[in-house]
């Protein structure tokens, strides 16, 4: 049971400076990510959901090393991420799939060159071996080897997303960060891509950090789900637990806001949040959700709750669940 996590985020932060003062002094920060801790184990999928500006994409970018945390530490197989970055061996283990299937492929490279790029950068095999590998990868994602000589413009959105997946798989990484991989696709294509991702995971045993605002897709693919709000994880639980027994008032509201696929359920009781997301440049004091929370208490304005275990398989950051309050 005491397995080592593949990736471990320890209280990572990303504060972007805004509006530098005179003489370039940075005096104000947007706290895009503000203390996120998360473990991802081999072979599992962790979903990261939240609304725009909650910091879920920034978190994903830090995991693959595209952005450096301004605080905290990321560990991969027990070693600090920086050590991998220094040796340029990060891409062997951590890869990413992007949201926009159009801008994620270089329009001036052939498909074969795009997919082989990670192999070339890591000096894997000879040119003909690489081409063989490209063919295997194309087949793996449901395309054919003759597609290798074409340019990205000749493919549809769904096919391009398959190409992006093939590129991410080239070095047989242990974790792929999927940043909104289906939200730009048509409904019928989304299902194809989700199935493909799941199949690949079953075959290769890799892990996903699946970032999306579409809760249905996250539910479909994830084993565990973390809900983020204004740069923090406010609830982290097993999928079943989260959907059957959401604890945080924000999670409850989020789930209840998702349109129900049965028109007869239209008049069900729903929690409709009032107001907008506060700006991450100026988050509220205390619990960041208290401005919109339907069950906010007086102390929520002062005390920022910690992410604490609320059951064997869930953690919640809400004063309602902190013992001292519950008592």
């Amino acid at each position: 049971m005491k397995q080592q996590p593949l990736v471990s985020l320890k209280d990572i932060k990303k504060h972007f400076p805004v509006g530098s003062g005179l003489f370039g002094k940075k005096n104000h920060f947007v706290k895009a990510v503000d203390g996120v801790s998360l473990d991802i184990y081999p072979g599992e999928t962790v979903g990261l959901v939240g609304e725009s500006g909650c910091g879920k994409s920034t978190t994903g970018r830090m995991v693959v090393g595209l952005s450096d945390p301004t605080g905290g530490e990321i560990y991969f197989e027990g070693k600090k991420l920086n050590e991998y970055k220094a040796k340029k061996s990060l891409g062997k283990n951590l890869q990413m799939i992007f949201q926009d299937p159009y801008s994620s492929l270089n329009p001036r490279m052939t498909v074969a060159d795009i997919i082989a790029e990670p192999l070339v950068l890591h000096k894997v095999g000879t040119a003909s071996e690489r081409r063989k590998r490209v063919d295997e990868l194309l087949e793996r994602v449901g395309l054919a080897s003759y597609h290798g000589n074409r340019y990205p413009i000749e493919f549809s959105g769904g096919q391009r997303q398959r190409l992006g997946i093939a590129r991410a798989l080239a070095l047989q990484p242990k974790l792929i960060v999927c940043d909104e991989p289906v939200s730009a696709l048509d409904v019928s294509i989304q299902a194809q891509i989700l199935n493909l991702l799941k199949e690949i995971q079953n075959d290769m045993g890799l892990s996903y950090l699946f970032i999306a605002h579409g809760i249905q897709a996250v539910k479909h693919i994830s084993d565990k789900i973390a809900v983020m709000y204004l740069g923090k994880i406010i609830e982290f639980a097993n999928k079943e637990e989260l959907f059957e027994n959401p604890r945080h008032p924000y999670t409850k509201a989020l789930l209840s806001a998702v349109p129900h696929p049965d028109p007869k359920m239209r008049n069900r009781e729903r929690i409709i949040l009032t107001g907008d997301l506060p700006s991450p440049a100026n988050p509220p004091a205390g619990c960041s959700f208290h401005t919109r929370c339907p069950v906010a208490m007086e102390q929520c304005k002062r005390i920022d709750p910690n992410l604490l275990p609320t059951s064997k398989q869930s953690l919640t950051a809400c004063l309602l669940f902190e013992d001292k309050v519950a008592n």
């Binding site: 609304e51 129900h260 696929p261």
Partner: protein, 343 residues
């Protein structure tokens, strides 16, 4: 459906062409539907289905490259919008028919405060004094649920969040008491908690003011949540039409079924594998002979690849354009016997 009242909007045989060097594209290929007073009709389809071209046709806002066939007609309260001159169209647009877009940032003027923008559009259409119009604008902002509306009147669009901007757009659409609002993906750019607010608002407007809404979307959840009636489009044609209950409980067209099945379930256990519609939407220049869906349909027969089915009423209540759906349960048989009994 009751035939008592004349529909507010009646689109008949709408057919559009775009000539290209490789041949002619028909973004909308023979579409007929109607919208009754106070009804929310959802037009569902994926990219390339022709749903946006259809809605822009109603507003007369299509690019000039798009041509209409001579049989096309769009009757709004009996008047054919396609035959109106631009000047007459402008009177209807914004007055009786208003439109809400996916990204309100494009439709709001970034250099004017929102109060002024709403008031000016009222002045333009209603010929009232600016001061009165500003009062109306304030009422409207309150009506669409903008908190602290009085202060917000002087805000510029960039100072508002996406959800607030969409509310302002709705307020602007309401400015001249339209009878029909065309909402093109009104919540696609919004977060789910904000989407719920906006959908609620649209339903409230329909129930309280009796405004009809044509809701264009690809999101079936939004449809289930909001619409009274549903039109499903594929490759420029309506393939199924029915009440929202019929469409969601008893979809007849394999495309509708595929769409519904491919959405992961939010409630209950997840399936290991999602049902998918295989393949991709065909290139508009190389549409298959016969039924447009034949390349992706697992029930396709020889007949499907030869003849295109038309939208016919199925005994279950839906209108459907599918040979198989019409044949099973005596659908098309019923139709054919009816025809043969006449002869």
């Amino acid at each position: 459906m009751s035939e008592k009242e004349e529909p507010l909007l009646e689109v008949k045989d709408l057919e559009t062409f775009i000539p290209t060097s490789k041949g002619e594209i028909k973004p909308v290929n023979g579409v007929s539907f109607s919208i009754n007073k106070g009804e929310i009709v959802a037009l569902v389809g994926e990219s390339g289905s022709g749903k946006s071209v259809s809605s822009l046709s109603i507003m007369g806002l299509n690019a000039s490259a798009i041509q209409y066939s001579k049989d096309s007609s769009i009757a709004f309260k009996g008047k054919d919008l396609l035959k109106l001159k631009e000047k007459e169209m402008r009177k209807i647009r914004g007055n009786e028919v208003a439109m809400i877009f996916q990204d309100p940032m494009f439709s709001l003027n970034p250099v004017h405060p929102i109060g002024r923008q709403i008031a000016e559009s009222i002045v333009l259409h209603k010929k009232v004094k600016y001061k009165e119009a500003l009062v109306t604008a304030l009422d409207l902002l309150n009506k669409v649920g903008i908190p602290d509306a009085k202060r917000r009147l002087n805000d510029y669009p960039h100072q508002l969040s996406g959800g607030m901007r969409q509310r302002v757009m709705i307020a602007m659409a309401l400015a001249c008491d339209p009878q029909l609002i065309i909402a093109d993906e009104p919540t696609t750019a919004l977060d789910v908690t904000i989407q719920a607010q906006i959908l609620n608002l649209l339903r409230k407007l329909q129930q309280e003011s009796g405004i009809a809404i044509l809701l264009i979307t690809h999101d079936l959840g939004v449809v289930a949540e909001t619409a009274d009636r549903v039109l499903v489009m594929y490759c420029g044609k309506i393939v199924e039409e029915g009440t929202v209950e019929d469409i969601f409980e008893n979809p007849l067209h394999p495309y509708t079924r595929g769409l519904l099945a491919s959405v992961p379930a939010l409630y209950g256990p997840s399936k290991e594998k999602l049902d998918t519609i295989p393949g991709v939407v065909p290139n508009p220049l190389e549409l298959p002979k016969g039924c447009n869906f034949v390349t992706r349909c697992s029930y396709a027969t020889e007949k499907c690849s030869q003849n295109a089915p038309t939208l016919l009423e199925h005994p279950a209540g839906n209108m459907v354009a599918c040979w198989n759906a019409l044949e099973e349960e005596g659908g098309i048989g019923h139709y054919e016997t009816a025809a043969s009994s006449i002869t």
